[in-house]
Symmetry: C2
Subunit: 402 residues, 2 copies
Amino acid sequence: MKKTPPIREPKADKASVRRHNLSLVLRTVHDAGETTRAAVAARVGLTRAAVSSLVEQLMEQGFLVESGKTFSGQAGRPGTVLKPAGTGPAGLGVEINVDYVSVCVVDLAGTDRVRVAEPLDNRAAEPAEVLARAAGLAAKALRSAAERELRPTGVRLALPGLVSYGTVQQAPNLGWNRVPADKLFGEALAGRWPGQAELPVTSDNEANAAALAELWFGALGDVRSFLYLTGEIGVGGAIVVDGELLRGAHGFAGEIGHLPVDADGPLCRCGSRGCLEQYAGQSALLRAAGAAGVEELARAADAGEPRAVAAVEEAGRMLGLALSGAVNLLDPEAVVLGGIYPRLMPRLGPAVDAELARRVVSGLWTPAAGRLRPASPATPASRGAAAFVMRQVLDDPLAYTP
Amino acid sequence: MKKTPPIREPKADKASVRRHNLSLVLRTVHDAGETTRAAVAARVGLTRAAVSSLVEQLMEQGFLVESGKTFSGQAGRPGTVLKPAGTGPAGLGVEINVDYVSVCVVDLAGTDRVRVAEPLDNRAAEPAEVLARAAGLAAKALRSAAERELRPTGVRLALPGLVSYGTVQQAPNLGWNRVPADKLFGEALAGRWPGQAELPVTSDNEANAAALAELWFGALGDVRSFLYLTGEIGVGGAIVVDGELLRGAHGFAGEIGHLPVDADGPLCRCGSRGCLEQYAGQSALLRAAGAAGVEELARAADAGEPRAVAAVEEAGRMLGLALSGAVNLLDPEAVVLGGIYPRLMPRLGPAVDAELARRVVSGLWTPAAGRLRPASPATPASRGAAAFVMRQVLDDPLAYTP
C-alpha cells in the first residue's frame, strides 16, 4: 500500500522558531482585534517574557501598536492593550471586471481604508489598455494610501477568468486569451507610481477573491465551507472548504458558470452550449426582462412587473438546477450569492431554494434552514484580494520588515 | 479581519514524541515496502540509534519483521532489511452493494490476503437481514484470516448511500432510510464470530472506499486529485483532493449520480428528476440496450451490435455532460471510472471524452491527455475499506498493541 500522507519533519532551529512565533503573536493580536500580552501568552502557550520580547520586535517594526488603553483581566496586573498598526503595511486589491474596475487598500487589521471604483466597458478595449486604466485607478488609490501613511507590500488583481501563473489563460466575457496580466499591470503601474518601484503583482480569479472577502469580512458566522457564486456579466464561482479555497489542479476550480444546465441550450462564449451563465448571467437576465440595468430590473421585480418577475424566477430556477448538482457533489454548509444577486433575492432566493429542496439528495436542504444567503455588502472582490496580500504579511512578518 | 487559520501548537512531551515517531518509522517502512534502519534514519531525520530503538519496539509488538535479506547501501555497513509484518494486525472491509456483498482482509502492507464475494439481491430483504448475511460472509473471511495468523483491528463497511455517524441516512437503491448499519452489523457479527467480541465497526460510502483503493493500490502514478465515479445499480462518486477524500459538511460529498442532466427527465429514486444515474446507471443502461447483464452488454457493444453501441454511447454522453460540470467545478487531474464502466471503455470512453473536450472551459481536456481512466481491477471498495482500517494502525501503532 503506497503513499501515506507526506511526512513533515521541519528542522526547527532557533531563528526559524522565532520567525514562526512572530507570526503566531501577530496573528493572535489580529484575530482578537485588541488584546494584552498576558492574553496572547495564555492563548499561544508561550511564556509572558517570550511574548513581551516578540511584541517588542513587532512594535519596533511597525506591525503592532499600543492602543493607550489598559485592560484588567481576571488575574494579574492590568495590561496595556495591543492592536495591529493602522499605518505601515497595507494590501492593494484591484478587481477588473467586464464593466467596471474597483480598487481597495486595506491595513493590517483588514479594514478597507481606501476604495475607488469606476464603471468601464472593458470589452471594448485591448487587454493592455484595460490593465493600464486599472493601473491608473490603482495609482490614485496609492496616493490616498500614502497620505494615510500606508505602505503597500503587494498588489493582487482579481479577474473574471481562468488565472494561472500570473496569466489570464481565458476570460471569455472579456475576450482575453493568454494575457500576462501581472506583467502588463506591473509595467503600467510602475509608470504611474514611481514611488515604489518593485511592488509585487499577483492575480487570482475574481470569484475566489470575493469568496475570501466573504469568509473574512462577511456574516457567515461559523460557516467555513461554502460555495460562492457571483453574478456579473458572467457567473463566477469559488469553493471554500474548511476556510481554504479549493483551487484545483490548474487553479481553475469553481467555474460553476459553465456547468451545463441544458445540453442543447444556447452557445456560450466558452465554446460549450447551455452553460448556466446563458440563463443566469447579467446579460441573459436583463435581456429576458427587457431591462437596461440591474437596479431597474430589481425595482420592476419588487413591484411585481410580470416580465421582470418571470426573468428573475427563471434565472433562479436555472441557478437552483446547477447548484443542486454542485451541492450534491460538494455538500457545503452554505451557498452564498454575490454580485448582482443580493439585490434580486426577494424573487430569486425562493426560486433557487425550491429547486434545491427538490433535488439535493441528502434531504437536508430546506428553505427554512437558511443555507442560501446573499453575500454581505462589505465584501467586494477587491477587498478580498487586498486582504490576501495582508495574510501573507501575517504569515511571515519578518519578510515584510521595512 | 477575522479568522486566520487555526493555530496549532501541540504540547510535545517525551511520551507523545515517541508515540509519533513510532508511527513515522512504521509509515516509512510501509511506504518503502522493504528498507533498512539506516535508510529510515536518513529519510526521517532521526539518529540511527533512535531509529533502532523504535524499530525494536515495533518488532516486539509485531508491526515489523526482518526479511532475512541484507542490503548494501551506498555508504556504511550492510543493513538487515525490514518490512511490515505479514501476520498480526489486519483490516476487514465489507462492501454491501445493491446486488452483491464483497469482503476483503488486508495485512499491514495493504496486501489483500482474503477475498470473499457473493451475488445477493439486497433490495429484496430487510436491512437487518442484509447486514446479517454480510456478517456471515465476514465471519467466513475472519476464519480464513485467523488461519493466516491475521488479527483484525476493525471492520469498515462500504455502502451505496449517504452515510454519517454509523448510520445509512439514505440509500435510494437499497430502499434504506436511517439504518444504523454499524450497530446492526456489529451485533450480527458478534454472534457469528465470538472469537473477538469487540471489533469496532465503522462505515463509509462505497464510492469513497473505492476511490481510496484506487489512490492507494491503483495505477494513478503521481495523480493525487481526482474525481471517482462508480457505475453500479446507481452511480456513486467520490472526490479526492491532494490525497484526501473531500467529505463535505455532513459526509455526503461526491453524489455525482444525482447531478441533474435533464431538468425534466425521468423521476429518480432520490425524489428528483433527470439525475445522471437515470441515464448511466447499470439498470438504465441494460434497459436501453435490452441486455440481461453487463458482460452480455459489453460483448454486444464490442461486436458493434447497434442497440448496445447506442446505449453505451448515450450513457457516455450523459456521463460526459455531468462530468463536464464536475470538472469545471473541481478542476481535477483525472477522472476515474469504476464499477461496470472499465469493461465498457472501448465505446464509453470516447463518448465521455468528446463531451468533456467540448465543454470543459479550461481547454485542457483533450482525449489525448489521457485524463479519463478506467479504475484498476485491483481496487474494489472492500479493499479500500480494509486498508482504511490499516491506515489507522499506521497512524498510531501504540493504540493497536496486542
